[in-house]
Point group: D2
Amino acid sequence: MQLVDVCTPGGSHAEISIAALDASKHVLCEKPLANTVAEAEAMAAAAERARARGIRAMTGFNYRRVPALALARQLVAAGRIGAIRHVRACYLQDWLVDPEFPLTWRLQAGQAGSGALGDLGAHLVDLAQYLTGQLITGVSAVTETFVTERPLAGGAGTGAVTVDDAALFTARLGPGTVASFEATRFATGRKNALRIELNGDRGSLAFDLERLNELEFTERAVKESEGGFRRILVTEPDHPYLAAWWPPGHVLGWEHTFTHQVRDLVTAIAEGRDPEPSFADGLQVQRVLAAVAGSAAHGSRWTPVPHPSGKP
Amino acid sequence: MQLVDVCTPGGSHAEISIAALDASKHVLCEKPLANTVAEAEAMAAAAERARARGIRAMTGFNYRRVPALALARQLVAAGRIGAIRHVRACYLQDWLVDPEFPLTWRLQAGQAGSGALGDLGAHLVDLAQYLTGQLITGVSAVTETFVTERPLAGGAGTGAVTVDDAALFTARLGPGTVASFEATRFATGRKNALRIELNGDRGSLAFDLERLNELEFTERAVKESEGGFRRILVTEPDHPYLAAWWPPGHVLGWEHTFTHQVRDLVTAIAEGRDPEPSFADGLQVQRVLAAVAGSAAHGSRWTPVPHPSGKP
Amino acid sequence: MQLVDVCTPGGSHAEISIAALDASKHVLCEKPLANTVAEAEAMAAAAERARARGIRAMTGFNYRRVPALALARQLVAAGRIGAIRHVRACYLQDWLVDPEFPLTWRLQAGQAGSGALGDLGAHLVDLAQYLTGQLITGVSAVTETFVTERPLAGGAGTGAVTVDDAALFTARLGPGTVASFEATRFATGRKNALRIELNGDRGSLAFDLERLNELEFTERAVKESEGGFRRILVTEPDHPYLAAWWPPGHVLGWEHTFTHQVRDLVTAIAEGRDPEPSFADGLQVQRVLAAVAGSAAHGSRWTPVPHPSGKP
Amino acid sequence: MQLVDVCTPGGSHAEISIAALDASKHVLCEKPLANTVAEAEAMAAAAERARARGIRAMTGFNYRRVPALALARQLVAAGRIGAIRHVRACYLQDWLVDPEFPLTWRLQAGQAGSGALGDLGAHLVDLAQYLTGQLITGVSAVTETFVTERPLAGGAGTGAVTVDDAALFTARLGPGTVASFEATRFATGRKNALRIELNGDRGSLAFDLERLNELEFTERAVKESEGGFRRILVTEPDHPYLAAWWPPGHVLGWEHTFTHQVRDLVTAIAEGRDPEPSFADGLQVQRVLAAVAGSAAHGSRWTPVPHPSGKP
């Protein structure tokens, strides 16, 4: 068994992944799956072909493997927060606030595809779909590039920033579920604040990646006078992924999202199962990103996201 | 001196306020100023006429008088957070989650004009404009009514909910300032969470009405290793409105937003000044609400908000 | 009916209160009840005499009337946290950190009796006994005066600080309940942090006066994977004192601890009942304070607190 | 170079460590260094002998290597919080609340020496001395065993718990510094809450191990209206230990306290320096623990802690 882990800039994901899959290597590809829907479609097709030969492909949305978010998914799937009314998701960083920060590959459309949208927003889109078990059906978006010229890394002059610095969009998932999304690298003081909140008709969940061992959970069933968001420290042995780790209260770090991802991948390979998220899941995220970019380019107009089945 | 405090449902604000102003009574009118832009325009015109006779009119956006938010305005005005990149505002309540909650006047368009948009979103719009010192220039919106039929209050059958349960919109203020807004009464577990965060290129501010005595503030000027949001307990004698209250750390309640509002109003009347926010300010908020409703009704298309000057 | 509210420095509480009670006035006396146990005993005796004539006396431990703490008492009394193992209480302020702060009456033993101990610690002692329903049976203490000379208020030279700046003590309540207490005015950055946590064998409660509308509560009965302290926003109509106030999530301020206190007092007078806390309760707190001072003066030795019954 | 890592129960630390040192192996010994002062003295003497041959010994107080606590030490050492008035430290866990939890070695004095005192309290004592740069000079203590009989692990009957379930003590460090300590395994709902707060005359610091990537810091120098505890997310490249880790905001887990400890140890060995904390530091902590036990056994009387120099 051989496994290729594709960690290059997005523009080369398709070429590498397809070659590896066609050569019967299992593939773990970083998110976002590709820079375009067309590339992602080709990758998903390659994954489907490889699958027939027992070759596995996985998209590296590592935040599905944060124990607190895996627990959130369990609670939603068990109906604990009921029908979901609201998704409220933002991913806030601040490393581009300084206009003297140089023009790296992440700021160039040719290599990165998009900016905050693909880098940060892709996580939000995947998590929203994963946690709710629903797909985003349409979006309305605004994007912005606050600093349009930056110094070249080498020091010789400046170059144009060709990606978004921030992307904001509203969305709908299934009937009766609305969502707001925001991805930015200009939120001064927010270092890695991936925040997601779900409000259902029976309860709510809230999470912040800066406190990745915690999940907030409230249920309407608790009588009002005793209600309130409870802070679950997701370090108990019966929490997802925790059986193999430390005693309660001894927190995990960010890197173990990758540890868990690889563990799930190699377990799936060993057991002959398809790992999740699949390349098809990655493709669907790509369709949402493309719809966001399209809406932003056309006066924020409502832009449907094609369904995987090809049906409207 | 006589003063009329207009606290009726929005549909009667115009008639009462205009009559009072024309009869040379000072007027404090609850927010939102009216149910339609036309009504608000008539009210602003009446206020302008009355002003010539020394009669004052004020819109009751009481949250400008939360000491923490007044402090936030001072910090922004002093340039402490620099050029504002992001406004992120939501007002989350949950009192409509139960589908058996009856059909009160607030759920009927004829009396209330709109739902969460006018009741909660109006506060967000006013605060965003007040805190940044900028006007919203355009919006893209989604609205939703999750529960479309509710029991009549009397117990005989059900009636149609004719207002929004939730309103989400993106917006632009001045050049290079983007914003996201969300108002809902379906955020299970959130009781009165008016949250607003401003990210500037020199610092950030964050506030939550459920902790109304606190303001979070961070500055880039602090060296990175010592940076972080500081929690200012806004109860010091040199904080806005606090000189008249308790010792440091002895917190204020919600009702004093009204205490401060009335104090500012009667002081302005006594000193022959115009109180803020004016009816013109209330009208401008109304224009934003109308643009939100219009955008939502037309596939979320980008909808400009007319400038007070009449210029584009 | 006449009522005397005794708000003078502690040294005059006994004279005023006893005179008022003997003249058949109801009395509300500020905490701590007196500067010495002997004074407090005389006051409790006067209250007992007056009681026979239907005259009521109350000690002004206003923090029993914080809704969140009244709710905490309800939960403890209902057995919701089980047998209490730990009480952890501190009251942290910082207004004496500056050595130039002048020598006011609160820093002179003759008028104030003690320093942080009587001013802040008295609240902790009363709350610990009120919330647990148990009495403190013994203590071991350390006290400290960090700044021993301060400027006289008039500006002419300095004077000696004759009270404690900080008091720390361990204690026992009923069998199997241990406690730690700390009162200080030198906790830089803490403005009014009265914090109390109770750990029982079935659950725990935690409170901080700087966020006086919130109570944290956890129960062991919740399965471990869903456990965690929940933040109850104590603003629901079925919370103590809240039926008369604002809608959920609209927070109360510090002053309403006094509003509730007076409401309970006049209601008790009207209904011919004894209000709580009584002068006997205030006397018992005084005995604890005296034991603390005695222990601190004798090498922190364990110092029993006499039981109200006179029995050991 | 050979290194022995002593992770056995405390009763065998001395034998193993001394043998290893005498055989010229470097030694990292888990905390607390020993079960008795006599053992710790023998170990410190062995370390001193070995040191002459270039052999290094280190006590495993791993929490000195939490980046947030290492940063706290830097800030204190730089005078940023001034003269320290208060240390407030507790270590709260809850894994013994259930009376059916079996009688493991940690609950038997023969192997563990003490209970919460040595297991948890030892960390607090070391941190208090490390962070302040001062030694504890005396203590007054209370200890308690809430559940005195527990099931034997094998299932056959019960056995006596011979260690403390909780230890509370007050202490003094240098002149004008008072401290409170509490260690317990009965704080229901607290999983790993090592909390330490320092109040100085220029500022304060606060930390909670359940949020180990965060340090709260406030300074008096900031004007009152802008003051407040700031939450430093200790993940910046210029934070202690962070240069080798992830980008800002990407948090570390508990295990890296050990990673950092070993890195510092092997670096010290390679560079021919003595690592910290030394066995002498471990011995001094042991003297404090012995004084705590002694005070608790003698009516909480004030019990001096011998100075390392042998002078009073």
